[in-house]
């Protein structure tokens, strides 16, 4: 048996969190609140004592370069990854002390995870809706409406395994919306999605926030975040380095992109070097 064969399930206890009901009371009005959220992999911190407040009804963008810790943070928020420390309050419920109540209040669209591939889109929605305890006829009506709005009618009874990337994002979004959650947590929802599907997804998300829902979504496409979000948090090296209303974070910079480059300390490609590039005679 190799070392990786050793039981990784030994750490069964929930991490101890500071505070109790006081914290939940103190974040009333916030759809999502993170306090001291921390996660390390092999001793290297991926998310480092993150504090964040997401106001109810906001369209909140979590931006950062690849490896900044966005997906790790969202995984801990959605209950897919156990934090080393810290607390996550979603719609007034602590995710790690009352996961059942918290997960009933959230809709999730993760990035790069599989679905139940051998079910068709309608079957997937029907299954997940009924598993959440929603009556079959209600699930059926909502699923049909979501499929129409998300332009998935043409897929018919095609298996999810045969869906394109855009279709997969849309059916996952439909599954996330099916139980009408208070908060939507979306990890790179428009990554590798065609423009038509992207427009449809954006419209649905707008309608959702107009109805009072809160959207938290991660992205590394600044123009997208600037065009969609009311609030934004910039993440780098596992920490939140700026957060607030979009205009506030952007400050005096010409665009969010420029502000982001300044905040994360990145610079454009320097002059000089690469003189050989483009000179190949082969």
């Amino acid at each position: 048996m190799t070392t990786s064969d050793q039981n990784p399930l030994s750490a069964t206890a929930l991490p101890s969190y500071p505070g109790s009901a006081d914290l939940v009371r103190s974040v009333v009005g916030q759809a999502l609140a993170l306090r001291g959220l921390t996660k390390s992999f092999g001793g290297r911190p991926a998310v480092d004592h993150v504090d964040l407040d997401v106001p109810t009804g906001s369209f909140f963008g979590l931006v950062g370069p690849n490896g900044a810790g966005k997906t790790t943070t969202l995984s801990m928020v959605t209950g897919l990854l156990r934090p080393d420390a810290g607390r996550v309050i979603v719609a007034g419920v602590d995710v790690w002390t009352d996961p059942a109540a918290a997960k009933a209040r959230m809709g999730v669209l993760p990035d790069g995870l599989r679905l139940f591939e051998r079910l068709s889109g309608p079957e997937l929605l029907s299954y997940l809706g009924r598993l959440r305890g929603i009556p079959a006829e209600v699930v059926s009506a909502r699923a049909a409406e979501l499929i129409t709005v998300l332009d998935l009618d043409d897929a018919g009874n095609k298996l999810v395994a045969d869906y394109s990337t855009g279709m997969r994002k849309k059916i996952t979004l439909a599954a996330a919306l099916l139980h009408s959650p208070a908060v939507l947590l979306l990890d790179e929802p428009l990554e590798a999605v065609d423009p038509v599907s992207a427009r449809i997804i954006r419209n649905v998300l707008h309608r959702y926030t107009t109805g009072g829902g809160t959207v938290v979504f991660s992205s590394h496409v600044m123009a997208l975040v600037e065009g969609l979000c009311s609030h934004v948090a910039v993440m780098a090296n596992g920490r939140i380095i700026a957060a607030g209303e979009l205009a506030e974070v952007r400050g005096s910079a010409a665009s969010l992109d420029d502000a982001f480059m300044h905040l994360v300390g990145a610079s454009d490609v320097q002059e000089g070097g690469l003189s050989w590039l483009g000179s190949s005679q082969v």
Partner: protein, 529 residues
Amino acid sequence: MVGVFASLKWRLVTSRLRATRGATRAWLIVGMVVLFLFLGLITFGLASLRMLPDVALPVITTMFAVQLIGWVLTPLVAFGVDETVDPARFALLPLRPQTLQVGLLTSSLIGYFPVANMIVLLGAAVALGVPWSVLPIAVLCAAAQLLLCVVLSRAASTSMSGLMASRRGRDLGMAVGLLIFLLYMGFVAVINNPGDGNALQGGTEAVASVLQWTPPGALATLPNLVATGQWAHAGLAAVIALAALGLAWWWWSVALARSLTTVPSTTAGSSPAGDSHDTAVGVGVRGTMQVVAGRDRVLLWRDPMRRMPWLMLAVLTVVWPFLVVRGQGAVFAVTLGAIFCGAQAGNQYGVEGSGLWLHLQTITDRTRARGEVLGHAITAVLPGTVVILVAIAVQAVARDDYPNVPAALGVCFGAMLGAVSAACYLSAALPYAQPQSRKSLFASSVPGQKGRTAAASLGLIGGGLAVALPAVAAVVLSLTVDPAWGWLALVLGPLAGVIALVIASRMTANRYLENSTEIFAVVSAGDRV
């Protein structure tokens, strides 16, 4: 360029060893030494066949043919076992097809599997090289046999690579896997035929007389033809072998050129799903169980990865007792199939890879978690019950063994329910990742988790046997004291099984809720393979 391919393959072959340290490395080396000692034993056994030339020729002729078929079919069943021979990985490199082909041939000859084949073939060469003067010819023939195996195998796998890149193609590979299993069962049934003591020897000779005209058969018979001065026949054998090698090389080059310049169709979809009319709702244990079992029932037939094992074990459960037990008592041999039926409830959380996140979001309390466990369990228990009933009925009728039926039913149901219970609990206690690329029906674990997979598999067999013990005790009494005790087995087996399942479902649900994120991390590794 050949050197580059050879060094690339050598690094890949030795990477596992280089990546390990200490005791793990020591065990790996010990394992390899044991394997090579075992191979040495086979080689020695083959080489000693030179004392029995009448036996050596038909046996090695058949062996050569089986070896070639094995080489050709293995990549179809388990495509991707050797990434250095997947042409798609070289498509963007500025290489001429001829250079690539020679490089790939070199890669194919380096590795544990080809070396093992070389060692065994050396033993065959010694057996065929009678007298010693024709040994060089026998060695040449053995080398040509290895080349033929490699070239034909690569030609077939390259031709199939486009097909195997699509999900539908891989589903087809699973069907081929089932076919091979059925052929194997048929083969075992034929050679086990007790009616004629010489069936095995006579059968092999008859088969070999036909096979000698095939390329591998021609290579096996060539040394003997030279030794006995049958020059015309020897020339014909040489032509058959060389022509086959040339044709296989040509086929490979054509397939390689095509695979490097065309994009396989990956849009070929499956048959669309039918309309689903399930109306169960996940409220309470019973409701959740019905919802989960409803999905499992659909997938049981729709997903080849779930369907094929059931078809295999249905055949195994009915046929296997005929092979291992003569006369009365064969009904009890159905127990093995019963345990395998129960095993189908195994690794519940790993089947869908990272798709488990959908359940992590929806199955969040103890009631639903228990419902899910029972839903998966019932999907194994219901078809398992049918398989057991049919298998025992077939054995009882064929062997006229009705008195043992109640006892056998008791043991089988106890074993199946015990295996289901152990499978449920081990799903949460010892989950493992299942390769989600579905390249092979037989690839059930991912690198680094083979130990977990083996432990979980053995654990559920042990669980099945343990729960069947009360029924087994009653069976012993029925066989030694009074057949009426068999009826007690019929009560004890299912009773112990149901109790085990109720307890296991509670323990599994608790363990799942405590460890769901860790289970998710373990099983998500299947996405990468």
